[in-house]
Assembly symmetry: D2
Homo-oligomer: 380 residues x 4
């Protein structure tokens, strides 16, 4: 079968690889109908992680079941399903508490959390390919309703970014009527904005320096805050009588750049400490890594940031972080899409056949204008 394979920094090609197949009785094999390129694919693409050559990328996957193992009962051939990027067993200590992003069974020994096509998250091939093996299929497949085809650009967002944006708002403790400041109008930040709107936020401030992304934020119902001149903190404080918003979301991560284009890893977190009110919560779903040897900043190499902890403490703030436990949200988010209350596909800018994935990576990596979100169509 065909699959997108990593061959080194900024070098990916569509190759022929061995077919995906049932390996354990709890597996299913899926024929991919849609699979997205994600911002965190770029971390690997750029060569900034320990990902190995030969890896097949792709953790935002949706498709049709073509085969199931003999232990599988809830999913059958022909079902349309979308898969959490987290691979989870369903029965370990973390899964049973709902922390499926920190599965102890599927993760490499000594760590917590597994994913498709990802550095350090287990030996699972990604879905930017024609077929995909899905472990623990009964637990990991979310079956889609009759409108699976019609709304497939919405449903595919259930694999990662919609639940991840939603997770940001849950970690931030957003309540109806709250104001929220969201750092970053990339796909995840935009999904956080949509999540906040659905949950009844009164005002949603979205910070970014790219015009096209801010325009999307506004379309979603948020108030765009342009950070290209470095005044975003002041703008938020002006909007909120100097007190700050009720809560905040970090949707950028460790490669954050300031308005002069320099990487400043603590920029977003410290700006959130400044722009969220005392007693407020911050939810951080932008990726931060335990070590980043290729970073310029000395602290960043060790995975540390110069965090404004004194102010954070004095304001009595709280902070939640980490990868979304997709299964905690995907069923209800599916229902919101099905009943017409959510339309995450609003951010899709490109739909391309798998063959054009290498070119799409190039544009997406350059943050070219208008390349907000790419859906690949392996079956096309």
């Amino acid at each position: 079968m065909k699959a997108l394979v990593y061959h080194g920094p900024r070098k990916v090609t569509v190759d022929t690889v061995p077919d995906a197949k049932i390996e354990r009785p709890t597996d299913a094999v899926i024929k991919l109908t849609a699979t997205n390129i994600c911002g965190s694919d770029l971390h690997m693409y750029e060569g900034r992680t320990s990902v190995e050559k030969g890896t097949v990328f792709g953790h935002e996957n949706m498709g049709e079941v073509v085969e199931v193992g003999e232990a599988v009962t809830a999913v059958k051939k022909g079902d349309h399903v979308v898969l959490p990027f987290n691979i989870a067993c369903g029965f370990c200590e973390n899964c049973e508490r709902g922390f499926t992003g920190f599965c102890l069974t599927c993760a490499p020994k000594g760590s917590a959390g597994a994913a498709y096509g990802y550095a350090d998250m287990g030996p699972y091939r990604g879905g930017q390919a024609e077929y995909l093996r899905v472990p623990y299929a009964d637990f990991n497949c979310l079956v889609l309703p009759d409108d699976a085809d019609e709304k497939d650009r919405d449903y595919v967002m259930l694999s990662d970014i919609f639940p991840t944006g939603w997770h940001a708002t849950r970690l931030a403790g957003l309540s109806p009527g709250d104001s929220v400041v969201i750092y970053g109008a990339g796909p995840v930040g935009l999904m956080a904005a949509m999540s906040a709107r659905i949950q009844g936020a009164s005002r949603i401030f979205v910070i970014d320096h790219k015009e096209d992304r801010l325009a999307l934020a506004e379309k979603i119902g948020a108030i765009p805050v342009d950070s290209s001149d470095g005044t975003e903190v002041k703008q938020i404080l002006d909007h909120t009588h100097g007190l700050g918003a009720d809560c905040g979301c970090e949707c950028v991560g460790y490669q954050c750049h300031n308005s002069h284009g320099k990487e400043v890893p603590n920029l977003t977190m410290n700006a959130l400490v400044e722009t969220v009110k005392p007693t407020g919560l911050i939810g951080c779903v932008g990726v931060f890594v335990p070590k980043d040897p290729k970073a310029e900043d000395a602290l960043a190499k060790k995975g540390e940031i110069a965090f404004d902890f004194g102010k954070f403490w004095s304001k009595g703030m709280r902070l939640g972080t980490g990868q979304a436990n997709v299964k905690a949200y995907n069923r209800k988010l599916r229902d919101l899409i099905h009943w017409g209350r959510a339309n995450p596909s609003i951010i899709v800018s490109h739909e391309l056949p798998l063959d054009q994935a290498p070119d799409a990576y190039k544009h997406f990596d350059l943050r070219d204008d208008g390349w907000t979100k790419v859906v690949l169509r392996p079956a096309a």
Copy 2:
């Protein structure tokens, strides 16, 4: 009346000051029967804060009501009461949500939170004195039951350290059956340990380098972990199959010292990131300050710490901080004392008349062996 007055770094004397009196119809005046010296008094005593000369210290106060303003209805002359160190109005946006440690009415303009006898927390005289004015007495006084005298060394701990230790465990999300690692066996750490025991923790690890404090921790039902050789992280991991405890409490603060006696402000927080398991929560009630110009460390001057954020994020951890909202807990903790389920006085090492307060400050500041907690008796 007599009161303990601050005259500069490490210089406090018992002076005669103007009597406390009713200033507003919602006030009460209390005759102090017990008032403690707190570790955070030492921050001011050592001259490390912006506290002004002439300040009367004392925020852990208990006494008998001697007069009430005409608007006061729930408290009357003769009542024995204990006062939260937080001064709160009860009706601002924060108080009405239970965040009485972040009152917007009583705090200095533009900030959140007020306290007795404290730098930057409003113009309220402290209680290391014969009498104390209590604003919003109906809201701030907790009336004590018949055994107020008999158990007054227990009840006085409701003013601060028992609720503060309890707050650490709540911020840490402790559930029955959990293991918890507590950094620091000072009064607050010991109260956190007692709180964890009452809430049904399965194992409570308390880290400190002082033998007498670790002995108290053990008496309370905790497992003492000696950090004097710098191996505390390894010890906790050994106890927990390498995974870490379910949750953690920081009860030390910004003046933390390593095993060589050097101040290392990020030591405790980063050790907790190491020793708490993925998905775990950390509650930080040790004081961290927004700026500390007298610190040696360059980051610390700005109130920043080099926080191991990459690991924290990868483990999907969460963190809560700040001063305890005493009123959120003091009523139920009072009941636990009254019905014989809590005995926070176990940590009291000294009971002294107010006159001996200057000497007590000296010993407590030197962390002299055996000076765990001092109760002053202004009425003695």
Copy 3:
């Protein structure tokens, strides 16, 4: 001043009564600008309660502050404020936990909860009058923003029915994406529907037998379910694959009638047990009374209903009840109105001067078509 006075079953007149005035230093006096007639006023109007002759009705009040007591600091002359129907002290054991609907200070001795112009809820005159005395004004007044005049038909709903409808959904544990069944499309049921929509419900089923009310429900974004032929349970089950909705709200109360016009007090609760899925919650804000001597049903006389407890238990259901703690919600709901995310005035059918109140009571009591909600204008 003028006020609406109760003189016996279905007999109310606008009389001259003594002026409202400051009685305690914590009081304010308000000039009413809007005050609604509520469905629970009708319980008294119909003579079915123990309310005494001479009572001034009116617990949904909004106005302008004309005088404050000397202890009042957060509210000042000229402020536009809306008042929770609950009168609460802010400092008793229940208020400090947020249960302001169960205040122990303001309630008659031995009970919990106080209100304006209500049977058995304390000696507080109602606001269907020119002026109103507000106890504990700092705690009870919610100050309104600049658009107080422009949106006053929205803001007045913060006094009771919008928070009460919201409370129904919170007691029901509604989460975004949930389906919810709401029994009753009176003002409270419609506000519950609006609350559910704001909170991101995927489907909102509203049951009633009156066409005009169902039309309003649809306008709010709900699915109307006509119960006039007694098939409402079947309709809900058909909509939900036979499983029932995720949660349910009771917004009718003890005077519920079946499709033949007979009073059947257990009808709504048992229908909700039937139409909510296993593990689901029911929030009941329709009023049920501890005794109802004038009821026909023998159980109802004692305040009992024949509750389908076996099915409720087998399905592992949960149930929350009681009057809304308005202050738990009114601040954020105010923000939602202010920022254009909520428009509770959609249900207002009539705005009338106080003089026409007796006539309005007559129509409202007869459930005349189109008399959904009446706003009285005492200042007009």
Copy 4:
């Protein structure tokens, strides 16, 4: 193999039945080392349910794994495990939210929840036998630590009554410092008392009319309240200044008898409405059934009770019900046993070989003095 088989009302014998065996790749087979008789076995034993002749009873099971299906990975031959009485798949909509007592996969079509050896809860043979087939073994087996043998009388209680008693306190929203009233000092009520103690209740009132059970309650740290003269409500109110306890637990169920020996199904629930304070919660784990054709009471036949709903509503109370989701608690309760903080075996009165089960049923059914809890030993 040998197993206890039901042959009609009060007629059980130990028969030879076909061996338990692996039927699906996700199964395990367990050799029973301990299996308890439960109060709800008596509902079937007495012939009051629809249970069929030939049923093997036993849902409180513990044993050693002797064989696993090929899909099973977390459990292996030789492991000592204890099994929740609920049988759950781990991946249905209810299981993934933690409601394993309401599994949709394992339950009979159209219902929610499965169990071993139980009427109407699926075709699963019980464990009062030599061997037991365990479906979805990875999800349902809780592996025990090294002291599995030594503390097996404690660990076997994790199958049902300890988590069920714990569930009562969680449904009741018990917080540390609370007072709680528990109706019933049978095994579940006693476990609720132990749970309340572990969670830091300040006072635990346990109501029963049997002296031996009340003595056990006292040993566990509760205050015994004798209901044999019908004054239990008054006693509780006297203990609580007339207000009632903070929360309540129902641990009796539909066969409740009054002090004259008459079955009064609404007795316990209405007494709890009386003895729990306004705003309090009640957790009901005593079994109530949707219909009970053999009951004397007309409402009871239909599964209804005459519930004091008016008072319940006026007090703003809340209520949670249903079977415990054992997996929500058993892991942490296991840890509490392992680390010496819980000793549920305190209630064991008899340990008997399987052969003596018929005789044990007889005594237990007669509520003979001293027959508190029977552990059967099939391997003995």
